[in-house]
Symmetry: D3
Subunit: 176 residues, 6 copies
């Protein structure tokens, strides 16, 4: 899946299984007001083939992690500090929004392959830690994939898909 | 995954493994100008656990199958009649659009979990047949999931995610 | 399973995911009166690891695809043109033949690992398209495996297995 | 796969994981001169989901286990007593016969989904023990599947498949 | 694997995917000076089939999580507060101890099926959060399994296995 | 999992699928009075990816195979000669010992990942043959992993884990 070869077991060391710095807040000074610090097989080579990874997520007040999905992983999130609105949407035909406001110590699950999001709904920073069920979960952020691909998807296709005028599609495409 | 129990092997019949009518055009009289006729475990019970399904897709002139993804299946499509623009977008951080114009007899692959779309680019109807690598592939259509969920995702979250004014978000939400 | 390495994602192109020519009839001028045009990982490198492939099958009048099985794939077939007799046989101890006559637009499933066959039962050419649940499904054609292996299976073993005289076994072996 | 439910772990007993009698020779008084004593999930309920089973095989002098394959299991066989000719045939297009004569203490592997057979080539009884990589490996014996299905595969199809006269096909069908 | 049936998708609610209280310290007043608070499919039914779970671990000063392994999960642990000695031992024949002292913000991986342990090496409480790659990871604590099974493993077997006098084995068995 | 590449199918030979000598008794002249002769992918390269292996186990009178587990395989064992006490222990919280005395021809299953052991309870040599559900099952022998790792696990941790004095821990560590 990820094309990585395994290290000879005789040569592995503790450093192949460790990472430092997850206590450091990420930089939320961006339009979304959020930051994700991943600890996947890219950071810990020893995770290769082991089916798990971890991320820290920081949210400035009212910061958002935009709707996205992980093609290869379920996510289980716990709130370390603050209050967080979270939700995921089921696939066709129901497209039900399953959402909840989490407090410190709450845990929530985003099932594999479903679009989900989070939003800080308070005036303080929020910190969350998540486990993901793949060493290389992948992320497809909807806005980037649909309106920010390189090259662009035809404006005409998106106008038809979202049932809006082409100039609105272009307005969004310019942002990404 | 799908919660279906298997039939006693002694009782299975040919009808548990068959379906009729895939030669019939779907009804493309809708805003998208397209129609999908699925043949999954919902239509053929004998597909349970077997990891495959099939669909027929019809496109009116300039009809579109809007951006969507299958959480559990890769799709392999062949054009039976007409010319079809197809594409998929890779996940973060590259978000590359891989696209092509297909003619009759061309085959194209949409990898599992990636957002993809098709558009009829001619003045005649287009027909395609696809195989999918799951008996129950699932579909998440981006516009429906993001702007048409029940209940709605907060306008504020979507405005931030797509970096547009809330009234544009609401305009799209009203359509779904 | 197939020993193929994946291409660097940054270098993939639309051509790694496409194939042309599935609208062309195969050459049925052979003793079986049938032809299979495969579209597997051998034709589309981008199918590697994705668990799906497609074939076109052409049948001259009364042409047969001889009994065979796919060790790694279920097959879902639809008839594009003509009438086709199809069937598969369950494993021991029942060895039930599940068969049906298909018309244009009919779909039929051959479960993974079970022996199956098709026969054109009309006076016109038949065309079918199948999806298979592996990028490299494999094919073991019974007659070739049993009577046409290189080197031959001992005539004595086959005579005992099929409960016939050795000269009948040799007669079949000579054909393969 | 096999539709069996698991027992409540609190109720399992040693008897759910054991079987007696594998030291007893099977009855080889049949046209093939061989007998298979299976120890699968049908004999040991505790094997459910565990991916392994075992068989004892007895061969009278010159006895044969006819060409067959296991759709869900690789087989690893060791000869406890006697001399045994074994072989398997690779899938299309090569159809290579990989065969060997085994002595007491030799071990041989029959890869999943490939047709294989054994024959006692001595004047004494042979005993073998095999492990199989499924709790429910399944068996498709070629002669039974092709010439002994219920109902029969059309004589015409088999005549074409094996490139012989219909009366030879019927002669074999009568035996099964 | 766990014998749980899935809920009808139409009836799932946010509560099927959430849990509260992971900010509460566990009770470390026990001989080991540690406490594990699990959030698995037993606490969140919606985790069924999703391949992930989470635990909070509390360690009193010098508290120990005794050597154990998870038959079905890799564990990825991050230290929220304090200093923690961690290690795992590779399988035969090397039995290498891979260990490290972790500080706040450090992350460490315990590969599936390998024996591992943790110890608080400071004078303050330690808190860690782990993700595990199964909704039902299972735990086999070595001391409990070997010296505390019900009924006991024969003293004679353990004396031979650990190469010590039987009275030492019995002394340990009495504790469990 | 094991990092082995597959051989080109065109070059495989019968020797890639065979091994000789499993009829030879292993050398039980060691403190445990037992010997294991493995036939895994290390002995038969053709087993790669095929999910099965085999072992012969010899036990001198009162010889023991010490408590161990296979992280990647279920084991199915049959007694060829003699009487054998066998058992496995379920995971937390029950830690039930499921045990039985086997006679010649008896078969017993040790589920994947659970600690198990065997002991010859008679005055003659015992021989057993096992199948294992992986080409590379792995073995973690409890005493070696816990008391014989290189370097040692801290005496303090083991004393706390087994609830005994440090000098007893050291006494066991010295043996391994």
């Amino acid at each position: 899946m990820n094309g990585l070869a395994c290290k000879n077991p005789a040569w592995v060391q503790a450093n192949d299984f460790s990472f430092s710095g997850l206590h450091n807040p990420g930089n939320t000074g961006n339009p979304f007001g959020s930051a994700v610090t991943p600890v996947t097989v890219a950071q810990i080579p020893g995770l290769n083939t082991l089916g798990i990874s971890m991320v820290r997520i920081d949210y400035a007040p009212w910061g958002v992690v935009a709707p996205h999905y992980h093609p290869r992983a379920t996510e289980i999130l716990t709130v370390i500090e603050g209050s967080l609105e979270v939700g995921f949407v089921t696939s066709n035909p129901d497209n039900r929004l399953i959402s909840k406001t989490l407090q410190k110590g709450d845990v929530f699950v985003f099932p594999v392959g479903l679009v989900h999001f989070q939003r800080n709904i308070g005036h303080m920073n929020v910190v969350a830690i998540s486990g993901l069920s793949s060493q290389n979960p992948g992320v497809s952020t909807i806005a980037n994939v649909v309106f920010g691909s390189k090259p662009d998807i035809s404006t005409d296709i998106l106008a038809k898909a979202f049932q809006v005028d082409k100039n609105i599609v272009q307005q969004i495409q310019w942002r990404f």
